[in-house]
């Protein structure tokens, strides 16, 4: 087996997916080749890191997103070698996407932080900034799908820090407000969406989220945000909540307060 052949089989080898003959050949090569041993050790580290992420079927968009990142990275400045996963390792794509994004973010981030010396470099910086932004978006979306609520909280913070979160991120945040199983994640998403208040569809979605919301804490947070934005279109939702005898008392009171404020600010 040559080093080139081993490199192609390395991922399979680490995943223990090679058959007996191939495994023996790979092991024999590794025993005799220090360079390949080093590469295997490095890749093994990344592998173990990815193993610690929860197992899950990749979403429909994951493959597409991964290919986009890879293309964007390849089109940009090359910053160093990246281990590419063989096509057959499909189940690892979402984690590979996160790992690749983080690797590239680190590399690009380093370049981005160096102040530009010439006008030409300033253009490069703008391009890198764009790439960092789209990587941040990918990481956000990946984090928002994690099983751990702490990871989802981090995803919302990432979204909050984005300059102009695109439609996919906004949808993900709205989904979090309406459907996340953890109240803390929902509350955090309400804060992040409050920052995007310039968009009327976001304001409308926030108002629509109130009747469907089962957590009074989140209802109160939504009311506060809408009142802050002086969103008078939210008045019917607030009135419905204030008059809903089944709803939590604190939420009803907040809705009544909100209604007063909105009517006063008109």
């Amino acid at each position: 087996m040559t080093c080139e052949q081993l490199r192609q089989q390395l991922a399979e080898y680490l995943a223990e997916r090679l058959d007996a003959d191939e495994r023996e050949a790979a092991a024999a090569h590794l025993a005799s080749c220090a360079g390949c041993r080093a590469e295997a050790a490095e890749l093994g580290e990344v592998w173990r890191g990815m193993e610690s992420l929860p197992e899950g079927a990749p979403g429909a968009g994951a493959r597409k997103r991964f290919v986009e990142v890879l293309r964007a990275y390849q089109a940009g400045q090359a910053a160093g070698p990246v281990h590419t996963m063989p096509r057959r390792a499909w189940g690892w794509a979402p984690r590979a996407a996160v790992a690749a994004s983080l690797l590239v973010m680190g590399a690009l981030g380093g370049r981005y932080l160096t102040p530009p010396r010439t006008a030409g470099e300033a253009g490069d910086v703008a391009q890198l900034r764009g790439q960092v932004e789209s990587l941040r978006q990918l990481v956000t979306l990946a984090l928002l799908e994690e099983q751990s609520p702490s990871a989802r909280l981090r995803g919302v913070t990432y979204a909050y820090q984005m300059r102009q979160p695109d439609r996919e991120v906004r949808q993900a945040l709205l989904y979090a407000v309406n459907r996340d199983s953890n109240v803390n994640v929902r509350l955090s998403a309400v804060d992040a969406l409050g920052k995007l208040a310039g968009d009327p569809t976001v304001r409308q979605a926030l108002a629509e989220a109130i009747p469907a919301q089962d957590s009074p804490l989140v209802q109160v947070a939504l009311i506060d945000v809408l009142v802050d934005l002086r969103e008078t279109n939210a008045a019917p939702a607030l009135r419905a909540l204030a008059q809903n005898a089944q709803a939590n008392e604190a939420a009803r009171q907040r809705a009544a307060w909100g209604l007063e404020k909105l009517e006063a600010s008109q």
């Binding site: 223990e16 997916r17 193993e51 610690s52 197992e55 189940g91 099983q147 751990s148 609520p149 702490s150 990871a151 909280l153 981090r154 913070t157 953890n182 109240v183 803390n184 994640v185 509350l187 955090s188 804060d191 957590s215 009074p216 804490l217 109160v220 947070a221 506060d224 009142v227 802050d228 002086r230 939590n248 604190a250 404020k261 600010s265």
Partner: protein, 258 residues
């Protein structure tokens, strides 16, 4: 791929075997598996309480203490036979699911290896956790939440009850969040914790013995902007680091130094 499918099928098989209802006083032991990945215990006890304690073993042990609601002989020798007093414990991959549904009532006590993550939900009864190193997610309606000796990260919310947490170590990379509508929040952090605090409270008071460097006082700043609702206060301790959010409407917030 094939190997994974066989492995998963075997685990489901094991999981099915592990699923059996237990009456009061019985214990269910879920043995340790070969995987080095820490496990997640997902417990949902609607009418009872949950107590989780860490211990030095590798297995997860689930016990139930508590008086069954039904089953005692009623008049005329008739006995209720439809009340399910049982506990359902199933294992799926790395997650152990523990369920106690109404009308069953009881105190569920789970002993776990220290590095287990928890996802606990209870409506009526208190939730108590001691000495766990991992991620602790807690949802309570009316029962007090008491978490002590936790290393890792906590994300907790309650509707009406107090949340009291003592952290031995805070994981700087993972945000924590505590929310309650009417309950108070009392969190103790190691004195050298580096954190970015975000605090929302309407009518509650905030106390702390940390030196908090305020970076934004919601109310004053928001009033200038013409904002109509109270905003969040933000500050850092020891230079900033882990994000910790506190939210309560009517409760008092205590952020204590250990």
């Amino acid at each position: 791929m094939k190997r994974t499918t066989v492995l998963v099928a075997a685990l489901f098989g094991l999981g099915a075997l592990a699923c059996k209802p237990a009456a009061a006083g019985e214990r269910i032991i879920i043995p340790a598996r070969e995987s080095a990945r820490p496990r997640l215990v997902n417990a949902s006890v609607l009418d009872g309480s949950i107590t989780v304690k860490s211990y030095s073993g590798k297995d997860v042990i689930v016990e139930m203490e508590g008086a069954p609601r039904a089953g005692e002989p009623a008049a005329g020798g008739m006995r209720r036979i439809d009340a399910l007093r049982g506990l359902q414990v199933t294992e799926e991959d790395n997650t152990i699911n523990v369920k106690l549904n109404p009308p069953a009532f009881g105190k569920v006590v789970i002993s776990v290896p220290a590095d287990t993550s928890l996802k606990l939900k209870a409506n009526l009864g208190p939730i108590t956790v001691e000495g766990v190193r991992g991620e602790v997610e807690v949802k309570s309606l009316n029962g007090a939440v008491t978490l002590t000796g936790i290393s890792g990260t906590v994300v907790a919310d309650s509707l009406n009850s107090a949340i009291k947490v003592t952290m031995d170590r805070v994981d700087p990379a993972r945000p924590m969040s505590f929310s309650s509508l009417n309950g108070s929040l009392d969190v103790t952090l190691p004195a050298d914790t580096k954190a970015n605090l975000k605090i929302h409270t309407d009518h509650g008071e905030i106390y702390s013995d940390f030196e908090i460097k305020m970076t934004g006082s919601g109310t004053a700043a928001n009033r200038e902007k013409g904002s109509l609702s109270p905003g969040a206060m933000s500050g850092t301790i020891n230079g900033g680091g882990a994000e910790i959010t506190f939210r309560t409407l009517n409760g008092k917030i205590n952020i204590r130094k250990k």
